[in-house]
Amino acid sequence: MNSAQTRKLITLTAIWAVLLFAPFWMLPLGGYTALATRVLVLGLAAMSLNFLLGFTGVLSFGHAAYFGLGAYGAGLTLKFLAPSTPLALVLGMLLGGVCGALLGALIVRRRGVYFAMVTIAFGQVFYYIAFQWSSLTGGDDGLRGFSRQPIDFGLFQIDILSNANNFYYFVLFCFALMVGVMGYILRSPFGRTMIAIRENERRSRFLGIPVERHIWIAFTLSCFFMGFAGALYALVNNFADPRGLHYSQSGDFVMMAVMGGMRSFWGPLLGAAVFVVLQDYLSSVTVNWMSFVGLLFVLVVLFFPRGLLGFIQRSKA
């Protein structure tokens, strides 16, 4: 094994150790388990966006829509269909992913700013639907009246509602599953065509890659992951918020990805951690917390263009 592989293995072990023991080391540092859970869920969302942004080179500014659809999908399932947490996650993911697949087919021919604008526009459509369709979605008040259900294994049940640690580990399991699938795809021939498109679209086309079809697949996969993250988020809050579909939420996800480092697989998780922890701490001090997060974002973009993780990796090497 060469030194690069060794370093990679050490980094991976460190990341999973930090995540695995988060409920234990966060408490003495003044954190709490639910905060770690939020980091995981928003980190998964930022990584899902980055699957498209960082590895296909396509910027979507409307990904909150698929996050929000996942949340409503999970909430509506629990409220009206069946009191099953796994079913809520699956249906939430399907709702986000299928809507992403349909709209993605309409926008993959656009590039750059035009792609970003059209994704915002479609995202806002879903925001207004959630906002206006009060009888189903609860409108401005959001969707309430559901809660995550115990995980039923037949012989025994795991309570994830009142036990914060149990819920954290359930979310960590889901996170690991999704991140594992993402990593697997990125290391496959299909994943390498995504990177090819990011690096040089014309060359990709002249290698025989139907570029639009591959971008559509990457977009759709990204929306499935996003929908899953959104479904988890509904379970975290026992609540689905129309503002979760708004383009400002999309902007937050882009910020997390860019701040953490969009060229690295784990960067967006770090970005989400910084974002969520700062938000948690600063919002108890000042209502203008966002301006401080914004300031940090500007500093990172100016001085660490490869993001926080990119900077850490660069200085280690």
Binding site: P189, F206, L207, G208, P210
Partner: protein, 249 residues
């Protein structure tokens, strides 16, 4: 059967006729060079062959199949590979990774989210063979963006070769190169043509290169085919001399 059969293609951009009623047949194993002054329509003609845009009139057949309306990536899948005047590569990937993407796409793996060990090993050895052919094996782990201009062009040709093409289109392969690099690329193309029996169509400005390599030369001028023939015939052609070669030949 001819590899490429182009019949009376015309390409109009508004009022401008970039290519006018040009026909060309390229046989298997042949190396055909297209020459002509700047603005003669050479690159437009290349773009018609490789499918950047469809012709306004005329037809193009490849391996006996009409491809006039096919998209670029479909032509590539049928076995047509191309390099560009300004090198098109993946600069932030290594030489090996650049060629591997081409080999995987050509192997039909592009939509696969997995690859098993024996398939990966086969791709690996195919990439190594290709790098050997273009003399880049020693630089396999270097980032393509860090290589010299000549090596980048060789890497681009390696990507095209990894597609196992029936036809290789090279747009000014020695553009912007010094004498040493021009010589190396010329020798590489000569090997591909003579030893590996590739069918090649290339655009070239450097007359030394053209007369050294080509079986046949086509002269384009103001969008029209002025003359076609062996290097000797073209060198002796008075119309060509007047229009283009001047005293240089």
């Amino acid at each position: 059967m001819n590899v490429l059969e182009i019949k009376n293609v015309t390409k109009r951009f508004g009022n401008l006729v970039a290519v006018r009623d040009v026909s060309l047949e390229v046989g298997k194993g042949e190396l055909c060079a297209i020459i002509g002054p700047n603005g003669a329509g050479k690159t437009t003609f290349f773009n018609l062959i490789s499918g950047f845009f469809p012709p306004t009139a005329g037809s193009i057949a490849f391996d006996g199949r009409d491809i006039t309306r096919l998209a670029t990536h479909e032509r590539v899948t049928l076995g047509m590979a191309r390099t560009f005047q300004i090198t098109e590569i993946f600069p932030e990937l290594t030489v090996f990774q650049n060629v591997r993407i081409a080999a995987e796409v050509a192997g039909g793996y592009r939509l696969r989210p997995w690859i098993n060990r024996s398939e990966a090993a086969q791709i690996h050895s195919q990439v190594e063979d290709t790098l050997q052919l273009v003399s880049l094996a020693a630089k396999a782990d270097r980032l393509v963006g860090e290589l010299s201009h000549g090596d980048q062009r060789a890497a681009e040709i390696a990507m095209a070769l990894a597609l196992k093409p029936h036809l290789l289109l090279l747009d000014e392969p020695t553009a912007g190169m010094g004498d040493q690099e021009t010589y190396q690329i010329t020798q590489l193309i000569r090997r591909l043509h003579r030893d590996s029996n590739y069918t090649i169509v290339l655009i070239e400005h450097d007359m030394r290169v053209v007369f050294h390599l080509a079986d046949r030369i086509c002269v384009l001028d103001r969008g029209q085919m002025l003359a076609q023939g062996t290097p000797q015939e073209i060198a002796a052609n008075e119309i060509v001399q007047a229009a283009y070669l001047g005293n240089a030949a």
